[in-house]
Amino acid sequence: MYGLGIAKGLFITLRHLFRRPFTIQYPEEVRQVPPRARTNLLWFDERCTGCSTCAQACPDGCILVATSPREDGSLNKDRYEIDFRLCMFCGLCVEACPYEAIQAGGPFDDAVYVFDDMYRDKHALTRMARAYLDSHDYTYPNGKKAPRPGQLVAIK
């Protein structure tokens, strides 16, 4: 019958009119990403021992760790810096870290006006991690619980 195809096509168009909107209104709502997605990195000071495994695993060499030994044998982290200008977010540092101190799953609002703002030192990274933990009920991106502020933990 003539026109049946057109009617079928228009019916599909009509059906799409009544579907839920597809768009995610980004700044207001954020899409959930898969847990193993290669997103922005977060570094957690309380988990890091300063062993520099991440820096050795980094193919770009964008992680800088400088430590000095303490009396009890542990390491004091003098500097811990990630150069996000150079970082290619491959996640090899996440795989390498034996203490899960560096994890993917950070926020998306990382665009900057000034070039050197993308170079983040220990304090900037800690601010990012604190903001993440505050807004996520003190849960790490991998699902484990994080210590609350003021709570002392020993990481084995």
Partner: protein, 205 residues
Amino acid sequence: MDDLEKSLHQNLLITSVDHVLNWARRSSLWPATFGLACCAIEMIATTTPRYDIARFGAEVFRASPRQADLMIVSGTVTWKMAPVVRRLYLQMAEPKWVISMGSCANIGGPFAYGYSVLPGVRLVIPIDVYVPGCPPRPESLLQGLILLQQKIDRMSISGEREREEPSGDFSQYLPPDDPVRKELESLFPPFPQYERPPEQEKVAG
């Protein structure tokens, strides 16, 4: 800034004109259709209904730089491509803005120490917003666009642009007789005449 300019900034007429102009400029940012590498795929994904860059009035990707306001440098810029990027930027009409998207455009990314890749597109064109990522997720690009809109909101017709102009000095990257360097330097003020190297004649047979 002298006193006259300060009083101009507080002028009621100028601030109202600024308000209207900035509103018009920030809500119709038309990007140039211009993708260089894998970041371009994420840029295309940003225009899809899931993320919908049209919510910010920036969905009309113009095929000509002369109709575009915004250049999203998405991807690796090689030295051979650098004069082209600079020329496309010069062809855009003022006022124009640039977003540097991804680690490759920011500093060269994993090729930063290579011989063939420009270490940062900021050496060639002035950049307004940097978006880190490899490639950045569409959300990050949208965040960069929002930052750019906030920056346009602060603009004034009597003020200056708050961004760093490239110096046009490539002496630490390329040898002096390099044809790419000569072409690039001809695209910086005072725009000296650039003579192309003579093309080799085709040998018959």
